[in-house]
């Protein structure tokens, strides 16, 4: 084989390595979004598939913004979006409040124990998400372990209602997404130079002061990554509000699911998805920027 042919073959191989995943993602990731957008502009009909085509019989463009108008005017949806933001936000703060000291403790633990502590954070992640949420059903039931224990201890007389409340949703979200908070925080805290903290103390800052002046601002990339990694999936969460939340504790992920499967209103479900995506574009972009900057900083 001539060297030119070889070089061509090498180039060809590179092209294949790029093109295969590229085309896959175009087809199965990007095109579906275009379809969602298209269907969100259609009207629902009783047919298969249950929505009007984008072009009518004469070939004219037949799109309508009715679904979006409906989402904006119907109070239910606006309230549900807002509730989702608030609940995901509170769950994020709960994860941060518990996750930061944990990540800090792990990062400052002795090197031999650090690996095990980290493993114990990651382990639940490998165990079925659904079953981990399910585990709380047995705990928070009216006749569940928590109520039984509290009654046995004499702290309460009658069971507390925990299941099917927002409280249960917070517990479920915090529980499920805690590892997503801890891991990026740990990564930043672990590679942070302890000299910075000591330098601050040397210059007259108490331990607490040094934490707020140095540790916290330097941990910011980890805090941002952790918060977004919790907030973004929590916004679209379906299983937790379904299993632990009450029937009135609607979150947008569940509304989308029900709109699609129960009401079979595909255009409206698509519109719900488009708006959810628009709400999440900003946090997702921030996350990716943050991640890219982090990778650069390392290099």
């Amino acid at each position: 084989m001539s060297s030119a042919a070889r070089a061509n073959r090498d180039l060809l191989w590179q092209r294949v390595a790029i093109a295969t995943p590229y085309l896959w993602l175009l087809l199965f990731f990007l095109v579906p979004f275009a379809i969602i957008l298209k269907i969100s502009l259609a009207d629902p009909i009783v047919a298969q598939p249950p929505f009007t085509p984008s072009f009518d019989d004469e070939g004219a463009l037949a799109v309508s913004l009715d679904n979006f108008r409906f989402l904006l005017t119907d109070k239910l949806y606006a309230v549900t979006y807002l509730r989702s933001v608030v609940i995901a936000g509170i769950a994020t703060l709960l994860c941060l409040a518990l996750g930061f000291p944990m990540a800090y403790g792990i990062a400052r633990a002795r090197e031999e124990t650090r690996g095990l502590l980290l493993l114990l954070i990651v382990l639940p992640f490998w165990i079925s998400f659904l079953l981990r949420v399910y585990a709380w059903m047995g705990l928070m039931n009216n006749h569940g372990v928590i109520n039984n224990t509290l009654i046995w201890l004499g702290i309460i007389d009658t069971p507390m209602q925990m299941m099917y409340t927002d409280f249960a949703v917070f517990v479920g979200l915090t529980y499920s997404y805690l590892p997503f908070m801890i891991l990026p925080l740990y990564a930043t805290l672990e590679r942070m130079d302890l000299d910075f903290v000591e330098a601050a103390q040397d210059l007259g800052a108490t331990r607490t002061r040094a934490f707020w002046d140095v540790t916290w601002p330097l941990a910011r990339p980890g805090v941002i990554a952790g918060c977004l990694l919790v907030f973004i999936p929590a916004m679209g969460e379906y299983v937790i509000p379904y299993l632990l939340g009450g029937p009135e504790s609607l979150l947008i992920g569940r509304v989308l699911f029900d709109e699609f499967f129960v009401n079979r209103d595909w255009p409206l479900a698509s519109a719900v998805a488009v708006v959810l995506l628009l709400l999440l574009v900003v946090p997702i972009v921030i996350l990716q920027r943050n991640q890219a900057r982090d990778a650069e900083g390392e290099a």
Partner: protein
Amino acid sequence: MEHRQEQSSKATGARKDFIRIRNVSKHFGDFVAVDDVNLDIGKGELFSILGGSGCGKTTLLRMLAGFEIPTAGTIEIDGHDVTNLPPYERPVNMMFQSYAVFPHMNVEKNIAYGLVKDGINKDEIAKRVDAMLELVQLGDFRRRKPAQLSGGQRQRVALARALIKKPKVLLLDEPLAALDKKLREHTQFELMNIQYELGITFVVVTHDQEEAMTLSSRIAVMDKGRFRQVGTPKEVYEFPENRFVAGFIGTINTFRGRVTAINEETISVHSDELGLSLPALGKHAVEIGQEVDIAVRPEKIFLDRDRPTNDEDTILQGVVDDLGYLGNRSLYRIRLPGGRIIQASSQNRRRSVTRFLEWEDKVWVSWRPRSAVVLID
């Protein structure tokens, strides 16, 4: 050098025990990092603690800074016991080896940090920051972030940040280790000038003997948690007290032997290896028959093509085994008849392209009795 050391010893006269370290030990589990150490450092000294990695020098520095509490013993600074004080309550500041310049604050904020923590008013802070920026010549960089500074500039920020609080003692952890050779030499003198100007006591920890020699008024050589010798650079180099110090600082040739005669001003040591008696000048606490080392620095060794005439000297014959030209001087490895190789060096005083000695040339090796050091322990 001479001049500066005089200055320092004058300052030392003010107070010889400005820092008093008494019976200080530090254990980490079973490991003894610092082992029952005593040391006095005078006011205004530029004192170096020199040793290899793991010798305990950094632990000792961290105890002075307050990051470690001694397992036993006391540390006093200017007459106050600071042994158990946290770092933020000590009149001591530190320049970290990594510099630890806060990456999220600009130069100005970094330098002002210590004063802000002390609750000093804004005008005063601004004034002192300006003065510091001028001292370390960073006036044009005041709003830069550390990432936009060179290594040398970051080091000056760290220095300014530590000095602005007017500490009684400034601790410097390997201050020049992260700089390249050219910059290191320049910074070395800058540090000395700043120290002289401000009169603050500097305690430097370093593994670099050259750095310690040029910077310091005194050096403590440390090994395995203990001091092996404390003295001026000259004392430590020319009169090492033991084999460790002799070997750690500079290069030295040693010959094992037994004491055969103790005279008024010299002793004689017989070396079986060389098959001759080596005289050494000076009074030593030795006995006849005791095993000692005779040590000679390479630059104290003369190399000649003809036999030297001075009979008091130790004179040997050898062959040039290897040689290296370093520009200002040349290094020689000379093989003695027994196969033993010794090192010698000489200044290249004459400008010439031909070499004074070539490989395998026969050469006479000699040194003065006063150049020989007797090492007992």
